[in-house]
Amino acid sequence: MQSNWSQDSAAETQGLTVEQAIANLQSPDLSLRYYAAWWLGKFRVNTPAAVEALIVALEDEADRTELGGYPLRRNAARALGKLGDTQAVPGLIRCLACDDYYVREAAAQSLGMLDAPTAIPALMELLTGGVEAAVAIPGRPHLTQPYDSVIEALGALQAKQAISLIQPFLEHPQAKVQYAATRAMYQLTQQDSYGQRLMQALEGNDLQLRRTALSDLGAIGYLPAREAIARCAVENSFKLLALKGLLEHQVKLHETLTQDAIQVMNLMDSLL
């Protein structure tokens, strides 16, 4: 794995050095640990020492919330997804069984980003019970499992064996779970109707959901949505990011710049 970390990045690092950040992961001051984990992810410090220290932090017992959550584990799991080192995969798979919902959520997202097919069985496990089990936990702002993140990861990992498990979630009462299922079903089947459904979601009334649909369309690189993305009533930053997803998808498929890719860039230029 080639390191993204270079001297050039050092100018951006806001006070910490790599050595300090790694040392801070073991600091007696728990807030320094928490910040260091975030910092290593933010600046994509994927040196072996940083990755190793973050993997250790996935098992941290010191940093606990009143409700029993593990803040440091959450940040470490998020950071490891950004660092692109697959050594983190086994530790992240263990995190899928953590009591803390947010640790499971971060781990699912990072496993999707790390392109880790070995995580597929453990991710599918979290969908056990189907839509009936996917209900809100009383007193908490979330469902029993991080369904949207798990389903998105399975889509990204091309888990075709999960299609029948994911499909019922198209009818989940929560829109963001529906969108996650729609996005994954598109990735797993390449059926246009799923892309169209996400494109229609750009016309919805809720700004947060329009942003989610934008990010889903970017993630699946759904080219027919390009004009609708550029027109959508959402901040330009979100639209640029979605169009970037479309563009990168085109670049992956074709060696040279296609007319489609150029049209996407023209739209991006108009949003600057």
């Binding site: 951006e12 563009l247 670049v251 992956k252 710049l257 860039m265 991006m268 600057l272």
Partner: protein, 186 residues
């Protein structure tokens, strides 16, 4: 003359109203106001600069987009500063794009190259930014500058490609190269 004064007073009041709309946090209204300001053109430049909203980056991004599209070189200093140091990426992107599109012909010939070099230096600075969208906008600005100025900067694009890792920014550099090559060989 009285009618003319009245007309310009109305234009001035209209400009102020349009600029105020940029800060209403209403994207549809703001987009319409930007179009209105662009149509007014040069008369709107000084008011846009004077009324730039230090506290509302959304309003500032709209104002900078209007200034970029009007392309009056009096906006140069505010575009340079916004591209380099504004904390809001949306403002920086709009300014970077605008730096490539100013109407240099409105400046005295002896001033032009100094001023164009300033624009180039700022774009070269932000082409190293950590945020891909700022780098993308800098490429758009550089392509504009290569087209509108007398500066010879074709080589810069190859230099950017040598180190740029982001696929979208790389694509935009390649598009710039293909379009610049086409126009110079015509």
């Amino acid at each position: 003359a009285a009618v003319k004064d009245l007309a310009s007073a109305e234009v001035a009041a209209g400009i102020s109203t349009l600029i105020a709309v940029l800060g209403y946090n209403n994207p549809t209204a703001a987009a319409a106001a930007v179009q209105g300001l662009i149509q007014i053109g040069s008369l709107a430049v000084q008011p846009l600069i004077a009324q730039l909203d230090d506290y509302n980056y959304g309003a500032r991004a709209y104002a900078i987009r209007a200034l970029a599209a009007i392309a009056d070189p009096r906006a140069l200093d505010i575009l340079l500063a916004s591209a380099a140091t504004d904390f809001a990426p949306s403002v920086r992107r709009a300014a970077a794009k605008g730096l490539g599109a100013l109407r240099w012909s409105e400046l005295a010939t002896n001033e032009r190259s100094t001023v164009q070099t300033k624009a180039l230096e700022t774009l070269e600075l932000i082409i190293k930014d950590a945020d891909w969208s700022i780098r993308y906008a800098a490429v758009v600005g550089l392509q504009g500058l290569a087209t509108t100025s007398e500066l010879q900067i074709q080589d810069k694009f190859a230099q950017i490609l040598a180190t740029e890792k982001d696929a979208a920014v790389r694509s935009r550099v390649q598009l710039a190269q293909s379009q610049l090559f086409r126009t110079t060989s015509d």
